[in-house]
């Protein structure tokens, strides 16, 4: 479905010294700077998977997406999507894919979304019956029936994003590229988008490639993660394996009504709050239940919780200390 071999993308930009003299100098002398956005990237994604591309800003996620969709040309290496070379951009290939960019609108800004949908219907040669059925189904799922006839520029970001998704799925793509689809959305809108993608995937089984800085998106949708750091692939595997990337310990936090004895927790790398009423510990899966029972028995616990999003902590640690990946 998607296959890359030794894929490389370099960007060349030019340095300019500040001020008017710098501008004059740049007329005849410019220093070129080459940035390796993607380096010797190998990847294979079979059909039907939801894969999360993770990495810090500038890691190369979006560059990869752009190469997969044929928007930019690789500097070297091979990329094949659905048996096509994306950069040839033949119309047959374009009919099979869809791209949603959270930061860029695909819909026409000055007209109601329904007009854009009609245009997309014509571009993808969708029959009247299919169009009607898909619009009704998706509008209901996304709860946007009332928004279809409002000018896109008048919609909120969340509303617009729902319609963007709808527009991109109208032709039933075999691969859906989602580049930060929930960026800037409130929690309710994020949930709605996630639920929609999940139910759409369950029904039609397209391959989904997702980039997001929100780990809730990744946790809720992806079965496989690919981590990109500095343009290189640093991890590729199931989400469960990623969660155990820096050890399999669980993170548990306790809140106490009165200050407990700190010695009791010393074996589990405790992190105490300033007032000493809250502690966070790292504990193995096996020890988790007996230890929690002991704590509940011995101290006045007002609340306790296990970590909900281990991948968020792991991402944070890897972004701060990328060398941890070398130690694996």
């Amino acid at each position: 479905m998607i296959k890359t071999q030794q894929l490389v993308k370099n960007f060349v930009s030019y340095k300019k010294k500040p001020g008017i003299m710098g501008s004059i100098e740049s007329l005849w002398k410019r220093e070129a700077v080459t940035k390796n956005a993607v380096e010797r990237f190998d990847l294979e994604i079979p059909s039907g998977q939801i894969v999360g591309l993770l990495g810090p800003n500038g890691a190369g996620k979006t560059t990869l997406m752009k190469m997969f969709t044929g928007i930019i040309v690789p500097s070297s290496g091979e990329v094949e999507v659905l048996g096509h070379k994306p950069f040839d951009r033949d119309k047959d290939f374009r009919r099979k894919i869809a791209l949603v960019m959270g930061q860029k609108s695909q819909l026409w800004w000055d007209i109601p979304a329904m007009d854009s949908l009609h245009l997309i219907k014509a571009y993808y040669e969708i029959s009247d019956a299919d169009f009607k059925e898909r619009v009704e189904l998706m509008a209901e799922l996304l709860n946007v029936e009332e928004l279809l006839h409002i000018h896109v520029r008048r919609l909120s970001l969340g509303e617009r994003m729902k319609l963007e998704l709808m527009a991109s799925l109208l032709h039933k793509p075999e691969i859906l590229f989602l580049d930060e689809p929930t960026i800037g959305l409130d929690l309710i809108a994020q949930d709605a988008i996630r639920d929609f993608i999940k139910s759409y995937h369950a029904k039609y089984k397209p391959t989904v490639i997702l980039t997001s800085h929100y780990m809730q998106d990744v946790q809720a949708l992806c079965s496989r993660l690919v981590l990109i750091m500095g343009g290189k692939k640093s991890f590729d595997g199931p989400i469960g394996e990623f969660e155990r990337l820096l050890g399999s310990d669980k993170i548990v936090s306790f809140n106490f009504s009165s200050e407990p004895s700190r010695d009791f927790f010393n074996a589990f790398q405790p992190k105490w709050s300033d007032n000493g009423l809250q502690v966070e510990i790292a504990i193995s899966k096996e020890e988790l239940c007996p230890f929690c029972a002991k704590v509940l028995e011995q101290f006045e616990v007002s609340d306790f919780q296990t970590e909900k999003l281990p991948i968020e902590r792991i991402m944070k640690e890897l972004m701060m200390r990328p060398e941890l990946l070398n130690d694996r």
């Binding site: 044929g70 928007i71 374009r94 026409w108 007209i111 007009d115 014509a122 571009y123």
Partner: protein, 265 residues
Amino acid sequence: MIANLNKWFQTMQISWTTLMAYRLNFALLVLGPALVFYFVKVSLWQTLYIDDTTVLQGFNLKEMLHYQSWSLVIVLLAQSSNGVNLSEDIRLGRISKYMVYPFNFWEFHTASFLSFQSLQFFIAGICLALLLFLDVLIIENLNYFFIGVLYSLLVGLFWFSVQYFTGLMAFWLDETWTMRAVFQIIVNFLSGAVIPLPFFPEWAQKVLVYTPFPSLTYTPIRIFMGDLSGLYQGLLTLFISMLFMIVINTLVWKKGVRLFSAAGM
């Protein structure tokens, strides 16, 4: 084939809807520069002619005003502002959506040009009717008039191919409007839109015959004014020039799109 035509038609419809969403802006965009340019030229020539009996290079004042009024009609019929959107699509990265949709960038912009042109045709019609009503213009021969209109629409296509080229320059340049403005000024001058070609020195007239410039304004004005002698040469020049622009635009697109980095998206 029908599905393909439908794509073009739907794109034109979207373009119409978008243009109509900003009606005043559209009218000002089409009429503003053309009318200002027209009134400047009319005032200039009225100053140069001492009285109604003065004849300069075969033109009396009335003929000169006819010449300038036909020039206005040609501008309204032929010069669209589509190139601005085109370069902004590239500069702001909106081009990405055309790369993903199964309808090419050039197809989208050509369809948009056709819809812009059709609305502009309507505005040109109103202006022409007004000029005829005010007796500023007369139609010498109805057949020549229709030939002139068709010829001007062809000039419009040539202008579009040029605007497409300047728009594609956005792959290399952050701003393309200066390039467009300079080109427009040069063409306006050399095509006879400001000064009729007989006013040019003889050597310049001989040189200009071998360029596409006279075919853009001077030839259609002559057709409207009842002289078909330059028609075939004008048509040939336009076809060759358009063919040349199509080849250049294809090459520039291929080169530019390879450089496109879609930065910041």
